[in-house]
């Protein structure tokens, strides 16, 4: 976390005018990639993630197949133009790690045992990055999986929280992410009350940490509702 002299919360408002507990304007659209079995485009402010799902389909080469379960693969990728300085193509160590924990965030929501020898592929492209990209990606992936008709125990909601100028804030944008005291991305199955992704970077007391986790879980309800709305919109058309 870098330091800045700039105040990032002034008179209770964040630099984009939000209150600490506010989530940025969300856009969620399902079924945006005709070739894919499921897809979704999700924005939180200027952070935009596009997800597509292919599968369950037979896994090749066959020696990778598991006879008692299907597998999930998850590829998180940042477009070269999604960030200020052009990102080099090809997976960075950061992208490899995020792909791993994101896959683990989605697996508990799926019934992979019902699809032995298959794979479900989730590809996520970050088109624009302005903070909280991995959780935005998880929302897109969750919708794309639902759109693909992959059976799910629950939708998976992604949302971040943090500490900024001593205040708990929800859904960090890029500049907040750079200068905040802490950043906690979380994935959550709201109706199951299950946390499936949890990371943290920063400097917090144990009690602050626990409080932020709870505040994020609380705020995730709004994201869940937006996901449901997006799915309804697609299927009511």
């Amino acid at each position: 976390m870098m330091k800045t002299d700039e105040k990032l919360i002034i008179k209770g408002k964040r630099i984009d005018g939000r209150k600490p507990e506010d989530v940025r304007k969300m856009k969620m659209e399902v079924g945006v990639i005709p070739n894919a079995e499921g897809s979704a485009l999700v924005s939180f402010g200027k952070t935009t993630a596009l997800a597509s799902v292919y599968g369950p389909r037979p896994l090749h080469p066959r020696h990778l197949q598991e006879s008692d379960t299907g597998l999930l693969r998850y590829k998180y990728d940042m477009a070269t133009f999604s960030v200020d300085e052009r990102k080099r193509p090809g997976p960075s160590r950061r992208e490899i790690e995020i792909s791993k924990v994101s896959r683990e965030a989605l697996e508990p929501a799926l019934f992979l045992k019902k699809f032995p020898r298959t794979v479900v592929d989730v590809f996520v492209e970050i088109l624009q990055a302005d903070g909280s990209t991995r959780v935005t990606a998880i929302n897109a992936a969750s919708l794309a999986l639902a759109d693909a008709g992959v059976p799910m125990r629950d939708l998976v909601v992604g949302l971040s929280g943090g500490m900024l100028d001593g205040k708990i804030v929800i859904d960090l944008m890029g500049k907040e992410d750079n200068y905040c005291d802490a950043d906690i991305p979380i994935a959550y199955l709201p109706s199951k009350k299950e946390i499936t992704l949890l990371q943290m970077d920063g400097r917090l007391t144990p009690e602050e940490t626990k409080k932020i986790v709870r505040d994020v879980l609380h705020a995730s309800k709004k994201v869940y509702e937006k996901q449901v709305e997006a799915l309804k919109k697609k299927y009511s058309e």
Binding site: N35, F81, E125
Partner: protein, 276 residues
Amino acid sequence: MKSNYIIKLLEKNERLDGRKLDEFREITIEKNPIERAEGSARVKMGKTDIIVGVKLELGTPYPDTPDAGVLRTGAEFNPMAHPEFETGPPGEDATEVARVIDRGIRESETIKVEELCIEEGEKVWMVYVDAYPINHDGNLIDAGSLASLVALNSTRMPKLEEDDKINREELKGSLPINHQPITVTVGKVNGKFLVDPTFEEEKVLETKLSIAVTEEDTVVSMQKSGNGPLSDDDVDKMIDVAVKKSKEIRKLISNGKKTTKSKAKANKSGKSKDGS
């Protein structure tokens, strides 16, 4: 079987989606969908959907052009865009798409690269053009070239601070542009020529010729792709088609609207699957 049906229809100068042989699918152009990029565009041709982003970075010029900026064009076959695409570094087809897009821009001198020199032989602007197919339903070269052109036209120059730090919050003008090349790919099968093939049509084509043409009707690049042969007369006809269609498509980008319908488009029938 579908292939046979496509060929059968072509014999009657008809296509699966009701288009004429020399008719593009509906083209939708979105300028600057990626606010954080210096320039960007999203182009849909029917169900083919591609995003191009432009980034500007500092770099060193090539030794043989010490006073000119550098163009770098990339394209990947994103596995998101088609069930047959795989993760991994670009293969020969993706490499060809990137290089054909690149040549259209480079040979037409779309960018005034000589205005991108900061310090001769030492420091120039690098212009990175990266194409991300979102949905592949054929004709990635034309869609990607068009998106690249629109993205370059929409590109704003970041400010260069005194310490050579790039300030992308203050933009000071547009990327200097010379020309407006449009690439038109003409496919051939059974003696028929058609433009803007869908994915299924591409499978039955014997060969394709991608031709980039500027607003002065100058041909700046050609690329034959696919192992079917062409005669010299075929080449003549394909060039003529490309010159004609390039004019139509160029109008789409010059009319200033953010989203445009191809004037060449004429929805003819309810069977249309790919054109709406």
